[in-house]
Amino acid sequence: MSAATGKALFDKIWDGHVIRDLGDGWALLHIDRHLLHDLSGPPALASLKARGLPLHNPELIFATPDHAVSSAPGRTGETNVPGARLWAGLKQLSQEAGVRLFDLGQVGQGIVHVMGPELGIVLPGTTVVCGDSHTCTNGGVGALAFGIGSSESSHVLATQTLRQQKPKRMRVRFDGELGHGVTPKDLILHLIGRLGASAGTGYAIEYAGPTIRRMEIEGRLTLCNLSIELGAKVGMVAPDELTFAYLAGRPFAPPEAMFDRAVANWRALASDDEARFDREETVDVAGVPPTITWGTSPEQVIGIDDVVPDLSRAVDSDRRTAWQAALSYMGLEAGQPIAGTAVDWVFIGSCTNSRLSDLRDAARIVRGRKVAERVTAWVVPGSEQVKRDAEAEGLDRVFTAAGFEWREPGCSMCVAANGEQVPPGARAVSTSNRNFVGRQGPGARTHLASPAMAAAAALTGAITDVRRV
């Protein structure tokens, strides 16, 4: 293949889904998978019903309640009263439309971006959308996946397509071995800190390089999950042997008779050597420490050994103002070491870090120890399947014996749409994805970190270097 025709992973999937070229970089794209949750699903389904339009391909749509349902043990769809209408609406409208729904208590229920890959619904080379910005998570198995709003969601329900403008392509290569206590979460937080929260705006990002090739699929899902925090709608990793092994035997993955044929197709998706990218970045992984956010944007990150930055390090006056506001909101002083900052809450969960490997990482730190007296600590598994698998390994008992609450699957305190909030002024270490003002509740102060770092903070009652626990 010549340099002129070398194609990137992104382009191979995009080009393969163009139904009609609309000109000016726009295309009518086929959408292979559309995932619905209780917050964005009901309005999209209802708008179609109101217009009297049928769903184009209900068999390609999958729904599960995750955002507004309670995570309290023994919960029902009505435990969180304000969310009961959304839960009931998703169920009723899905049933009317012939959309498969995984309800509370069933395998398949869970955070929509945990459910998709876990069931093999999301596959390499598929186009995947959901009314949720963290749909980029699904790029971890080599899908072209991105979040959309409810209008675009209605468009997909009615036509199984989207009118989209092709983004630019960025490749980020990771090379080197992860240091002790360093996880994919630390890598992506580090990258966002280095490039800034809008560096990916207008781009689809491919993560590549030797570090990625060795990384397990759940780590790749975490990495891709935070692409939107870098500004990119799309983050993806080329599928490889690890991907194929991960998918084999999953409920909706290709059945055995088709699997080899599917794998042959998926192998061809990797970016060609000659593929060109509009922007390329390289990260030497060896130099990345356990990383944590100090402010109210995911770009406001530091290494765990570092101090809260001085305003003089801000690159411009708007950023200086933003840093000042962030310091004030977070109740921190420039120059103070981040380690040792007292913590009130710990949340282990979210589409970023709630999979079995995340819970194992946290449990390894927690085993045989106790949560500090002042700390309220929760574990919210990402899905019913994760919950059952973790319980089969006894992870739930590791957490509960230490004083953690072991809860039911859903988004919970990451987005606080179900009323589960960090109280005003309280400081939380959270494995989630957004440290925005008020994200975890009005006045809540969020530090984003890995599951192991969150576990360490729960035990010591302070932000702690996981390498010293």
Binding site: I19, R20, L22, D24, H30, D32, L39, L53, P54, H56, P58, E59, L60, P82, L86, E96, G98, R100, L101, L123, G125, D132, S133, I148, G149, S151, E152, S154, H155, A158, T159, Q160, T161, R163, A197, S198, T201, E229, G231, K233, P251, F252, P254, P255, F259, S297, E299, D318, R319, A322, V415, A416, A417, G419, P424, R434, V437, G438, P442, G443
Partner: protein
């Protein structure tokens, strides 16, 4: 979708970068489902003090900018969550146009689905507009001509993708537009069922509900 053609009004300024959609509208306000109340809750964390009274220094609370239809914002405005309610909340507050050096990609798309015009301008121009907006002088935005102008100054041209400009000017429904391609969609799907049968092979007994009462295409 509300078409957009021409607009004149004062310009409020919110210069800090990375204003996210959680800050524009909290998720519980959307979960509550009352779309008409969203204007009251837009920018809640910035607009009100902890006792619930208005924060007098928040730009849109100042008398000269109350109800301003244009907002000048910092880089990466609307980053974060895909919630389209962020656009609904801004429009419920009376905004029809946001000018910024850059926008969150999903928010940017959502603007066009509803008739809110997002204009991308180089940072120095955004700052210049913010400077001229002090005092509440009206700015005119003309999408047909792709210009913005203060009453006594020569107009400044802005760039916007032609497809997006046309969709805002006409207010055409994209679903109707796409359904005109029904035959092409059907043909693509027929071919894909042969090329990638595993994408379409989804009947799994015992996994979820398999009866379909919906439209059997």
């Amino acid at each position: 979708m509300q078409p957009f053609n021409r607009l004149t009004g004062p310009v409020a300024c919110l210069p800090q970068p990375n204003i996210d959609t959680d800050v524009i509208i909290r998720i519980e306000r959307l979960a509550a489902g009352d779309r008409t109340a969203l204007g009251t809750y837009a920018f809640e964390a910035l607009r009100y003090r902890s006792d619930g009274t208005e924060n007098p220094v928040f730009p849109l609370n100042r008398p000269e900018f109350r109800g301003a239809p244009i907002l000048v914002a910092g880089a990466n405005f609307g980053c974060g969550s895909s919630r389209e309610g962020a656009v609904w909340a801004l429009m419920a507050l009376g905004l029809r146009c946001v000018i910024a050096p850059s926008f969150g990609d999903i928010f940017y798309n959502n603007c066009f689905q509803n008739g809110l015009l997002p204009i991308v301008l180089a940072e120095p121009l955004v700052i210049a507009i913010a400077d001229l907006a002090i005092g509440g002088a009206p700015l005119t935005i003309d999408l047909e001509r792709r210009t913005l102008a203060w009453s006594d100054a020569p107009p400044l041209r802005f760039e916007i993708d032609e497809m997006r400009r046309q969709s805002l000017l006409t207010g055409l429904d994209p679903i109707e537009l796409t359904l005109r391609d029904a035959a092409a969609i059907a043909a693509w799907q027929a071919g894909d069922r042969t090329d990638r049968p595993w994408v379409w092979n989804l009947d799994r007994p015992g996994t979820g509900r398999l009866t379909r009462s919906g439209n059997p295409r």
